[in-house]
């Protein structure tokens, strides 16, 4: 009989850790009375994935009004903030936390592409939730149509990567026509028509939308300069345009810390700032004009 080395350290496969992470998070949510929907990775119904797709972290969508409470709960229980909402992405939709036992989680407070008010959108998704057992723990997940929609919307930001294409293939293309229609209807209901069009390469049907170029960038990829030009066109107010400009040169302290492996000093932050400006200028020099692939926008949208 082999020796019972029960507690000997052994390598933990990432997909296994991600499942445990989902269950651990749901336990915390249950304890604190917080509404959480588990999305992507092991929370995807087998009808929508080929299971070759592994996540490196757990993804959850928190009821927006519960966000602060969840963050407090995570921090009380050994989770460390890696990337804040503000630093995470253009959409400021997700914060990333790490736990020594459970690994990484992306906490979403809204889903990019869904333009319905986040509180209402969550309630819509919550009202059609299902339950999935992950690591022996019952976890609420969106309904099947909503899962397909969210997976497709997520792929819309995949810059046409093989993984994004596979997700669209599994969650949408291979599904019956009636199911696809339900996904489209649901996207319309949640104000996600444009993002869904990006994932399905149907953006040409929306030439007038100021967000079209941005979604085209996310769906198809491009240079940093393409991205900033698209952001500029999508920003219709002075305030949002100012934020775009700030974003071009703004240095993310958390990213610098991750790169350096320690909290950056003032000098290191200054160096990162100058490097950011140099890169932005070089990028614009290399790509002096936007790609001429879209009809012109109205005059106020021209950057």
């Amino acid at each position: 009989m082999p020796t019972l080395d029960a507690v000997d350290a052994a390598p933990l496969d990432l997909p296994v850790r991600v499942q445990l992470c989902h269950a651990a998070l749901q336990h915390l949510a249950d304890q604190s009375g917080l509404d959480v929907l588990h999305v992507k990775g092991p929370a995807i119904d087998s009808a929508l994935t080929d299971r070759k797709r592994f996540s490196t972290d757990a993804d959850i969508l928190i009821r927006p009004s519960h966000t602060a409470a969840l963050q407090r709960t995570l921090e009380r229980n050994g989770w460390r903030l890696v990337t804040s909402f503000k630093a995470g992405s253009f959409f400021e939709h997700a914060a990333n936390y790490h736990h020594d036992s459970w690994g990484y989680v992306d906490v979403h407070r809204r889903f990019p592409g869904v333009t319905m008010h986040p509180d209402e959108a969550f309630e819509e998704l919550w009202s059609r939730r299902q339950e999935m057992v992950i690591a022996q723990w019952p976890c609420p997940v969106p309904g099947l149509v909503d899962q397909a929609m969210l997976l497709t919307l997520h792929a819309a930001r995949g810059e046409n990567s093989p993984r994004a294409r596979l997700d669209v293939e599994n969650a949408f293309d291979r599904q019956p026509e009636d199911f696809q229609r339900q996904v489209r209807d649901r996207a319309d209901d949640l104000g996600a028509t444009l993002a869904l069009a990006a994932a399905l390469h149907e953006l040409d049907q929306h030439p007038e939308d100021p967000m079209t170029d941005l979604w085209r960038f996310y769906a198809e990829g491009g240079t940093r300069a393409d991205e900033w030009r698209a952001r500029w066109r999508a920003a219709l107010t002075a305030q949002t345009r100012a934020r775009v400009l700030i974003g071009i040169v703004w240095v993310n302290r958390e990213f610098v810390a991750m790169e350096l492996g320690h909290e950056p000093s003032s000098a290191e932050m200054r160096a990162a700032f100058y490097s950011r400006i140099r890169n932005a200028v070089n990028s614009l020099r290399r790509n002096p004009r936007p790609r001429p692939v879209h009809p012109p926008h109205s005059p106020q949208d021209q950057g």
Binding site: L4, D8, A9, L20, H27, Q136
Partner: protein, 94 residues
């Protein structure tokens, strides 16, 4: 009474069972025969509360699967393993 800790979560893994205790961990991987014992345990302990002699039951379950193994050694190793689970909080004695 003995029960599997309600806070224990587990996932079958290529190298055994990955078991963790929520909310804080740790995560351990039970390998080889220890994974087999865990499976026996969680199968028999699926209800929140199980019979008082669940440990003896598990030992007997292991022995049933390995009739040729030396009984004392199997019993000793199994009890040692269950003690480790108790120490980690993955089993609870009420």
């Amino acid at each position: 009474m003995t029960r599997v800790a309600p806070e224990a979560i587990w996932v079958p893994a290529d190298n055994g069972y990955a078991v963790g205790l929520v909310p804080r961990g740790p995560v351990i991987v039970l390998q080889d025969s220890s994974a087999f014992i865990w499976e026996t345990l969680q199968t028999r302990g699926r209800e929140p509360f199980v019979s008082e002699d669940v440990i003896d039951e598990v030992i007997q379950g292991v022995l049933d699967q390995m009739p040729d193994a030396p009984r004392d050694e199997v019993a000793s190793q199994t009890r040692q393993f269950l003690d480790q689970l108790l120490a980690l909080g993955l089993l609870v004695l009420d």
